[in-house]
């Protein structure tokens, strides 16, 4: 079976900072050795699939996308896009792909939104007439029509990201890489983008999207399958439902308590498979998520908290989310 994207034992190591001959190294600088961004990643993404890559910052998501977009060479292993090797045969790949990243500042501030997108379409050889027709259609779809002739430097972050999305679609790619496309966007702008991407994959036939995100709900809502990545390694890869089913035998409890510092006792507690801990300093509260083998340890957890003189504000047993899957596998949350 041929895949839209396939990687085999893909690794990427970034060299550490070189020592400067004539400059005294700054504090900690000598410790910056090689960084393994990807470590033996093997995935297969089918044609027509909306595939998610979920992981915290620094997990290796962007590195993987850059290798697949022919911008970076792997240190070892192989990556194929549309059946072509990214290292040996980039031209046919480049004809078929496009990429949009969150927080992108590409383009020229002097040009209008329309001109900017047109310019990028020329690098893919899209005839001007075709390009302008697509741009107008996409500007309407993304709600950017009113700003079509506004200079890029006058656009808000959300409008600019919509323009970037239009740039991604205007070349009619077969495979689209979306690297945190809704990063920093308001709810409405993010919704417009999510809906368009999902609709595009469902209706166009044969179009593939690789989406990276650290927004759990976004990946859960959009993706057919999700790979969970951390420290450059794929920890699990399945449909969102199956991933959640993996820990359904376990029980998830969420607690909101007075700010708690010492959580070491939870680690050793029998029946606690994993837990994560977030603080909200402004409210002086801590949010604890426990993945438990069963409900047995709940009483002990509560007594441990109250014995520290802390108040429990809420206790909630919940259905597992993708974040719970991640916590269950890694032993910490995304934040």
């Amino acid at each position: 079976m041929s895949y839209a994207v396939e990687t085999r034992d893909l690794s990427r190591v970034f060299a550490g900072k070189k020592k400067r001959r004539f400059r005294r190294p700054k504090e900690n600088e000598e410790h910056l050795g090689p960084v393994t961004a990807l470590d033996g990643v093997s995935i297969q993404i089918r044609e027509g699939e909306l595939f998610g890559m979920l992981g915290p910052n620094g997990a290796g998501k962007t590195t993987l996308i850059k290798i697949l977009a022919t911008l970076l060479l792997p240190t070892s292993g192989q990556a194929f896009v549309a059946g072509h090797d990214v290292a040996k045969d980039p031209f046919p790949i480049r004809q078929r792909i496009n990429m949009v990243s969150g927080g992108e500042t590409s383009g020229y501030g002097l040009l209008t939104a329309r001109e900017n997108v047109w310019m990028f379409s020329q690098f893919y050889g899209v005839p001007s007439k075709v390009s302008k027709g697509r741009i107008d259609e996409l500007m309407h779809t993304f709600g950017l029509w009113d700003k079509r002739d506004a200079k890029v430097r006058m656009l808000s972050t959300g409008q600019r990201q919509k323009m970037n999305m239009i740039r991604g679609f205007v070349t009619d790619p077969d495979i689209l890489f979306l690297d945190e496309p809704t990063l920093g966007l308001d709810v409405n702008a993010a919704r417009v983008i999510r809906e368009y991407v999902m609709n595009w994959v469902r209706t166009q036939g044969g179009k593939t999207v690789l989406l990276t995100s650290h927004y759990m709900a976004e990946a859960d809502q959009m993706c057919d399958r999700i790979a969970i990545i951390d420290n450059g390694k794929i920890l699990a890869c399945d449909t969102p439902e199956n991933l959640k089913r993996m820990i359904r035998t376990e029980t998830t409890f969420r607690l909101e308590v007075d700010s708690i510092r010492d959580t070491t006792s939870f680690t050793a507690m029998a029946g606690v498979k994993n837990f994560s801990h977030k603080d909200d300093i402004s409210k002086n509260r801590s949010f604890l998520t426990f993945i438990l083998e069963d409900e047995g340890p709940v009483a002990e957890i509560l007594s441990t908290i109250t014995s520290q003189g802390k108040k429990v504000h809420s206790l909630q047993k919940s259905e597992p989310t993708l974040e719970d899957v991640f916590i269950s596998m890694v032993g910490r949350g995304f934040e």
């Binding site: 027509g48 500042t105 002097l110 040009l111 001109e115 020329q122």
Partner: protein, 310 residues
């Protein structure tokens, strides 16, 4: 891959793709020139002040020489002709300065800038040839700078009353465009080096500003350096690696006549200089192509096509 759009790869398609890419990349520069009218002040009027300094020095020398040659009409005519030739050399040099600065700061350092603002990865991910990208930058830069250079030239003629005598306009055009091609070819070659050196290459641009103004003879006929014993010829030869040197020398010969300055301050005749410029243009374009290909590979290996924060 079975589904998806069938993509063409034939030669005709590739030519169309790269021509579109050239047009696309030149567009912001051509349009940008009109959208930022502040250039009239910063790049049209301010450079005239630099030119004026040289012009006034040459004119004061000429006035003193005229006083000394009072009563000798033949000598006075020769002094006036030489003063006009010197002032015209400065105006022509000032015009070419615009191109050299454009090559340094808008060609050589452009890929580094593109990387910083996040465009470079989008360029490198596109199927166009990288030379089409640089070609678009060069075409746009030439257009934008030509507008500015012509305005400097016209202002120079009007303000300083310079008289040009163009005997062979076709040759003049040929020398001008070949010199520009060689100059932008050099810029394209530097662009790939800057891609790898990044911010450190900034110093190189600064280094290549004033010293090149001098060694290429932007404000005086460079042949004069050969008459300076010792270091003069060395500086002139080093300066000759920049196409602007031969380009300016040939342009001055074509606009002032070969007999200006008694025919003593030219390097070679115009035809020889044109051949050298053609050779430089071809050489720099070929070197640009290969260095860009090599350095792109190196940058992909070292992860330097994208900024750290992207």
């Amino acid at each position: 891959m079975s589904a998806g759009t069938v993509r063409r790869t034939d030669l005709r398609y590739r030519i169309a793709l790269n021509l579109r890419a050239v047009v696309g990349r030149s567009y912001p520069r051509i349009i940008g020139a009109n959208r930022e009218p502040s250039w009239i002040f910063f790049e049209g009027l301010l450079p005239l002040l630099g030119i004026a300094a040289y012009v006034f020095i040459y004119q004061s020398f000429g006035a003193r020489a005229l006083e000394a040659a009072a009563g000798d009409p033949a000598a006075q005519a020769a002094i006036k002709a030489n003063t006009n030739a010197l002032v015209a050399s400065v105006v022509l040099g000032g015009t070419m300065v615009a191109f050299w600065l454009n090559v340094l700061w808008s060609m050589a350092s452009q890929l580094y800038w593109e990387k910083e603002i996040g465009n470079l990865q989008l360029y490198m991910m596109a199927p166009m040839n990288r030379m089409a990208l640089l070609g678009g930058m060069a075409v746009g830069g030439m257009f934008m700078t030509s507008v500015r250079a012509v305005s400097t030239l016209v202002a120079g003629i009007v303000v300083f009353g310079v008289v040009f005598q163009v005997a062979d306009p076709l040759m003049l055009l040929a020398v001008f465009f070949v010199a520009l091609t060689a100059l932008y070819g050099l810029g394209m070659m530097f662009a790939s080096l800057y891609l790898l050196w990044g911010r450190e290459a900034w110093n190189l641009s600064a280094l290549m500003e004033e010293p090149i103004f001098f060694s290429s003879g932007f404000y005086f006929p460079v042949g004069g350096l050969f008459r300076v014993p010792g270091w003069g010829p060395v500086v002139a030869i080093l300066g000759s690696f920049v196409p602007a040197t031969f380009g300016l020398d040939a342009l001055r010969q074509l606009t002032l006549s070969r007999t200006a300055f008694g025919g003593q301050l030219w390097i070679f005749d115009v035809k020889t200089e044109l051949y050298i410029l053609v050779f430089m243009a071809v050489l720099f374009l070929i070197l640009a192509r290969y260095s860009l290909r090599y350095l792109e590979l190196l940058a992909k290996r070292e992860g330097k096509l994208t900024s750290r924060h992207q």
